[in-house]
């Protein structure tokens, strides 16, 4: 109970609506937006259980039960997509956080103001540009005929690599590009959290004779825990979705790489855009939503059990 609240008598719902009608009105545009673009498409999930065709529409098309899902499981597609999506996200979360925290701690050691400003600005830049440009960058670096990497290999006397047909290499490439894109952003978030640490803690550590490593281990890292958990929960929420734009602009329709690079979103996008396949893509989408929902709920429940303050809701 907030102190600023005057104790109020229980009003009827209608009375509450009346007294706050202006505030409700102010929410109406946003509510309308989410109803139109997020809630209204929900009944369309029914497509996943039908043999959809345009003529009969969503609810007129023949009902086929779980056939679409059976197909997905039997073909092994669901498993491949799930594995790729989750493995990429785990790599992004683990490596991303390690790198971000490390760089944030290093920022904290830097004393030259202009150095800090310039480096932060440049590191943040990749987050600021469009994924389409990232696709251009990858092309510049990696393509067979003129790519910078192959230029380098040729100059040192090696044979150029057909990188755009080497499926095994792409997890590494995608992870590196993802880190390139997101580390600056994340490290600033962590750096802000470090700046928020009570200076007295550092002084106390100094008086106790803590080494730099001990200071990191016993002062900085524990203080970053709440930020880490919040960011972790957010990223868990997205564990079934990927950085779609990045994957699509790097791989696109290059089927030779799909075994290691196809994630749920790219496969759904392809099904809708180039094959007009609405049934399978809706089934995959529903699976993605349900799975993601379950993961967030479980993670939130676990965090809530450990420490209520860290939970999202």
């Amino acid at each position: 109970m907030s102190l600023t609240q005057t104790p109020r008598r229980r009003k009827s719902v209608w009375g509450q609506v009346k007294s706050s009608r202006m505030l409700i009105l102010m929410c109406v545009p946003a509510l309308a937006f989410f109803i139109v673009f997020n809630y209204a498409p929900l009944p369309g999930i029914w497509i996943a259980f039908t043999d959809f065709n345009y003529r009969d529409g969503i609810f007129g098309s023949p009902f086929v039960g779980l056939k679409n899902f059976q197909f997905l499981i039997k073909s092994g597609m669901l498993w491949d997509l799930t594995r790729n999506t989750i493995l990429y996200n785990i790599a992004f979360i683990v490596l991303g956080n390690i790198l971000q925290i490390a760089i944030a701690i290093m920022f904290n050691e830097v004393r030259l103001k202009f150095f800090k400003k310039i480096t932060q600005g440049i590191m943040f830049l990749p987050y600021f540009i469009s994924v389409v440009l990232i696709g251009v960058i990858a092309f510049n670096l990696l393509n067979y005929d003129t790519g910078a990497l192959n230029t380098l290999i040729k100059q040192t006397g090696g044979d150029p690599l057909k990188i755009y047909s080497m499926a095994g290499l792409w997890p590494l490439i995608i992870i590196i590009i993802h880190l390139w894109q997101s580390t600056g952003y994340g490290s600033i978030v962590y750096f802000a959290a470090i700046m928020g640490i009570d200076k007295g803690l550092f002084e106390a550590a100094e008086i106790d004779g803590a080494s730099a490593w001990q200071r990191i281990r016993f002062v900085i890292l524990p203080s970053l825990k709440p930020t880490f958990i919040i960011l972790f929960l957010f990223s868990l929420g997205g564990i079934m979705s990927g950085n779609f734009g990045l994957f699509w602009n790097l791989i696109g329709n290059n089927a030779t790489l799909f075994s290691t690079t196809d994630i749920i979103e790219t496969s759904v996008y392809r099904m809708v855009m180039s094959q007009n396949n609405f049934t399978t893509s809706t089934a995959v989408g529903l699976y993605q939503s349900l799975f993601g929902f379950a993961i967030v709920m479980t993670a939130n429940w676990l965090v809530r059990r450990m420490n209520k303050d860290y939970a999202l809701f």
Partner: protein
């Protein structure tokens, strides 16, 4: 004050010496934390690492620019590199010889960005204000209603069918414009920002008999400038970098594509071919030029990068507040 620390590190002499020097010469004594050996190591490593990572972040941009001002022949023989080869502005000449498409793309993107940011910002601020009001009985219901959309969604196919056929927006710029107006995340961010405004402002407004909208527009909003700047920038960036919704809903139906989607097409129409024939000994000489792609990338990205140094500090403060739990 520092005696125990000195003993604890064990290397008394090595530390005492620089410290005495500092007390003689260093004017920044007030903030000085005495440096132990491990401190100095950490600091040195930090400078080196940050410099390296910064170069890693910067170099790809340099390579794009340098490729765009190289001659096509030099790229064909030597490939892309860090330094421009055989300086030439031919690619830019080509783009600006027939500037209709690029000007159209800029017009579409700038129009969408300006109006989208203004309208989206207004709605987000209003909603954030209502949800911040502790005396608003439905704030939790509405919050959840908005937040739920991040937990569970219909997915691409049903949404695509609904927006295309149900709303009839396929081929219309509105399909792109409207869907980018707001995200739950931005509304939550705005609500968090609002907490920096003292609640007494609202109460004083109420006592003076101002209506809710008036309190919002005249009392709260002027105090929210940093928040509006940050969220406005996030919105503007989303509009500026948009290519995905355009690819879904605009496709080839509109004459002028938004900027990034225009770039996407320049790059990918040739790329798909190039990737599928890579190494297959098929002649690629007839495909659109490499330098043209790089120059298009520079033209589509350049202005926002010039703008970037001025807005960067708002972003930094914005994500800082966004990271604090709401």
């Amino acid at each position: 004050m520092t005696a125990p620390a000195t003993e604890a590190t064990g290397a008394t002499k090595a530390i005492l010496l620089p410290r005495r020097n500092r007390s003689l010469f260093d004017k920044s004594q007030t903030r000085a934390i005495r440096l132990s050996a491990s401190d100095r190591w950490l600091r040195g490593i930090s400078y080196v690492w940050i410099t390296l990572f910064t170069l890693f972040c910067l170099l790809p941009f340099v390579m794009i620019v340098s490729a765009s001002i190289s001659s096509e022949a030099a790229i064909r023989t030597d490939g892309f590199g860090l330094i421009p080869k055989d300086f030439s502005l031919a690619a830019y000449d080509l783009i600006f010889q027939a500037p209709k498409q690029i000007i159209g793309a800029y017009t579409v993107t700038i129009t969408m960005t300006v109006f989208g940011t203004a309208i989206g910002l207004f709605i987000i601020a209003m909603t954030g204000f209502a949800l911040y009001r502790q005396d608003f009985p439905f704030r939790n219901h509405i919050s959840f209603f908005i937040y739920f959309t991040t937990l569970f969604s219909a997915g691409l196919a049903p949404t695509f069918l609904w927006v295309s056929n149900g709303l009839g927006l396929r081929g219309s710029y509105l399909a792109v414009f409207l869907q980018l107006l707001m995200t739950p995340w931005l509304i939550i961010l705005m609500k968090n920002f609002m907490r920096t405004v003292p609640y007494e402002i609202v109460e004083s407004g109420k006592i003076d008999g101002a209506g809710d909208f008036r309190i919002f527009a005249q009392l709260t909003l002027p105090m929210m400038k940093p928040a509006l700047a940050t969220i406005g920038l996030f919105l503007a960036l989303a509009y500026w970098n948009e290519w995905y919704l355009s690819s879904l809903y605009l496709g080839s139906t509109v004459e002028f594509k938004p900027l990034q989607y225009y770039l996407y097409n320049v790059i990918n129409t040739a790329n798909a071919l190039r990737n599928s024939v890579a190494g297959a000994n098929v002649s690629i000489a007839s495909l659109p030029s490499n330098t043209l792609k790089m120059a298009s990338a520079v033209v589509a990205t350049g202005p926002i990068l010039l703008f970037y140094p001025f807005v960067q500090k708002y972003f930094v403060s914005g994500i800082t507040i966004g990271a604090v739990k709401g």
